[in-house]
């Protein structure tokens, strides 16, 4: 059997103009003819010599940190942007869902948008007609079919969008993290549909996600991308555990200008421990913050505070030695201090960490936004996570009848 998709030595280069605007304008083009270009060009490889084969019916997960080249790979596979070198041989129709609801028009009705969106995604008119009832049924918006889309709630728009995409009949489906939105119930429905597509209908699926549990459920094989290269391709469980080992966040703090401070933060290291995912930070699991402090003289009773803010910059948690009337005796030189949070009560999301070092009377060093804290998703299928309107915390709870 021939592979349905052969990716051969694909690279994508971008040239980064330093000290130049991203928008080109004519004035710059003209003036650059006359003056010597003193801006430096840096060539950046978003993808660097990537090759792999996909057999028909495979479902392959693509994982990697932000900027590893996942989205670029998907864009090249879906022909949105051409590779700089290399080629891809495809033996099936590719449909890409880099975003649900592409091309939805707010002034058109739900019915009209189903046809428009379906056709943009590459469906034939008779395919849409054939699946029309099923699409409407899946989306659950039949009452509002003839209402302009602008009067729909965002949830309804999303359901309609996913419903159209779910009935694509292409042989190869490329799916970006389209499921990262919507309420928990609908996410579950979407995942169910995707499982059905990949496992029961035997179509080929390439799935990019940060959600390890979803990848593990859907994909037997995974590719780990790292800085534009394939770091690893293997069974999904093996790839995920390798990925999570890399995923420890250790960050050195820029200490320029801090040398005069009595005590300052030198580095911070976040990691979690669980038997399964190794060092990914997971909700309801232990999580460790290791701080490296540099002191210019011995100091007693040093207070340390860790602030955790969400992306809207609201404080979610403050971990502070002072709350426990605790103080450390710091010796001159490098000191390591660890804070363990048992059963981290944060839901999967991205948070930002602030670090304060001080005494009872003064602040020695304050670092805002020192590092990101990414709490990864887990157990996608078995537990629902609170959505954005339900707060940031998840706490063990027991429900019983009495």
């Amino acid at each position: 059997m021939k592979p349905i998709l052969e990716v051969q030595n694909i690279s994508k280069r971008f040239r980064i103009h330093h000290e130049k605007q991203t928008y080109l304008n004519i004035r710059d083009s003209i003036s650059s003819i006359f003056k010597k270009d003193n801006s430096s060009d840096e060539v950046f490889y978003a993808l660097d010599d990537v090759s792999f084969d996909v057999m028909p019916g495979d479902s392959i997960g693509i994982i990697g940190r932000n900027g590893a080249g996942k989205s670029t790979l998907l864009k090249i596979l879906s022909k949105i942007t051409p590779p700089s070198s290399g080629k891809i041989i495809s033996r099936g129709r590719i449909a890409s869902l880099l975003e649900v609801g592409t091309g939805f028009h707010p002034e058109l009705s739900g019915r009209e948008n189903i046809f428009l969106n379906g056709s943009i995604l590459g469906m034939k008119r008779n395919e849409i007609q054939k699946n029309f009832d099923a699409i409407v049924d899946f989306s659950g918006v039949e009452k509002f079919l003839d209402t302009p889309l602008k009067h729909y709630s965002s949830g309804m728009q999303l359901r309609l969008a996913f419903a159209v995409a779910a009935f694509l009949e292409n042989e190869i489906l490329i799916i970006d993290e389209v499921l990262a939105v919507g309420d928990a119930e609908f996410q579950k429905k979407c995942m169910g549909k995707m499982e059905d597509v990949s496992k029961n209908q035997g179509r080929t699926v390439l799935f990019v996600s940060h959600n390890m549990a979803a990848i593990r459920e859907l994909c037997s094989t995974s590719i780990l991308l790292k800085q534009g290269k394939i770091d690893f391709k293997d069974d999904t469980n093996i790839v995920i555990s390798k990925y999570s080992k890399q995923y420890q966040i250790k960050k050195n703090i820029d200490i320029v200008g801090k040398e005069k401070k009595r005590i300052f933060l030198k580095s911070i290291h976040l990691h979690g421990i669980s038997s399964d995912y190794h060092s990914l930070i997971l909700p309801d699991n232990d999580c460790f913050f290791t701080l490296e402090l540099n002191a210019s003289e011995d100091t007693s009773n040093v207070q340390i505070g860790l602030g955790i803010n969400d992306q809207m910059n609201n404080r979610i948690l403050t971990l502070y030695t002072r709350h426990f009337q605790l103080g450390f005796d710091i010796k001159k030189g490098i000191n390591q201090i660890q804070c363990k949070i048992a059963n981290l009560p944060l839901k999967p999301d991205l948070y930002f960490v602030h670090v304060l070092i001080g005494s009872n009377f003064e602040i020695y060093d304050y670092n805002s936004d020192v590092t990101e804290l990414e709490v990864s998703a887990t157990s996608f299928f078995y537990k629902e996570m609170p959505d954005y309107s339900q707060g940031a915390l998840i706490i063990k709870q027991e429900w019983t009848t009495l």
């Binding site: 051409p82 590779p83 080629k87 009209e112 428009l116 056709s119 590459g122």
Partner: protein, 272 residues
């Protein structure tokens, strides 16, 4: 069905690919027509009212007050026939020129032959034309012009065709330039406005005193479109030199626009 995705190589017009996507072409045009007059009380009547009122205003000021000559036609017929084609051209190049930028969200997420978007913008303006054309037929009957039906059937479609070629060529060129140089967002309205002055819409070319001025007007592809469109009911002889220059200019813009667009479209998603 096997195909390859490779770095961009030589130019390929991709007519068969366009044909494969013909339904999308239909849906884009249908969407733009449908959306254009949404939430307006008068709806499609606007397609007729806009050129009609323009015609009334021009007839009052240029025809009645300034006594601009009109090649032995009633001035309203003269100006309306020009305006009909001019509207295809002006709305066509404006919407085609902005179409890539305004559809950037789709371009960045889904692949399809990009040419569909400016092409359907031109079709939308053609739709408005046919609505207003009905009024024009009414006017021909009202003024009881002695028309040669054979000439009418021959020249009116030819004029429309030349107009579409010119609109499409300039529109795709502007669309491709606009996505790279956003300056064109400001150049397009200015361009449309100034081109009106060198198109024989409100005055006949015979009014121009200098011969070289006529050739400047003829560099404008719309000169041929308007002149040929009118020749079904105008009796004054055509100036073939000027017509050839203008036709050449229409074809020039058509091929340059198409070539430049095809050559750069692969990178639209990176620029949008």
């Amino acid at each position: 069905m096997e195909y390859e995705i490779k770095p961009k190589e030589k130019l390929n017009l991709g007519i068969d690919e366009l044909w494969h996507y013909r339904e999308l072409f239909y849906f884009f045009t249908w969407r733009d027509i449908k959306v254009k007059y949404k939430q307006t009380f008068l709806g499609f009547a606007w397609a007729v009212l806009q050129p009609f009122f323009m015609m009334v205003i021009f007839s009052l000021f240029f025809g009645q007050a300034l006594k601009v000559p009109s090649e032995n036609l009633p001035y309203p017929i003269f100006v309306f026939s020009g305006l009909l084609l001019w509207n295809i051209f002006s709305t066509g190049i404006t919407s085609a020129g902005n179409s890539m930028v305004s559809n950037a969200n789709i371009i960045k997420k889904i692949y399809f032959p990009r040419l569909i978007i400016p092409l359907s913008s031109v079709l939308v303006s053609l739709f408005d034309f046919f609505m207003a054309f009905l009024i024009f037929v009414g006017m021909l009957i009202y003024y009881q012009l002695p028309v040669n039906l054979f000439k009418l059937i021959l020249f009116i479609p030819t004029g429309i065709l030349i107009c579409c070629i010119a609109t499409f060529g300039l529109g795709t060129l502007l669309a491709a330039l606009n996505i790279k140089f956003r300056d064109f967002r400001y150049i397009i309205p200015f361009l449309v406005q100034s081109l009106l002055f060198i198109t024989p819409v409100i005055y006949p070319v015979s009014m121009l005193s200098h011969e070289w001025l006529k050739y400047i007007v003829a560099l404008n592809p719309m000169y041929a479109a308007v002149t040929i469109f009118r020749s079904g009911f105008v009796t004054t002889p055509m100036e073939y030199n000027l017509l050839l220059v203008s036709l050449g200019s229409a074809l020039f813009f058509f091929f340059v626009g198409l070539y430049y667009f095809r050559n750069t479209e692969a990178y639209f998603a990176d620029l949008a």
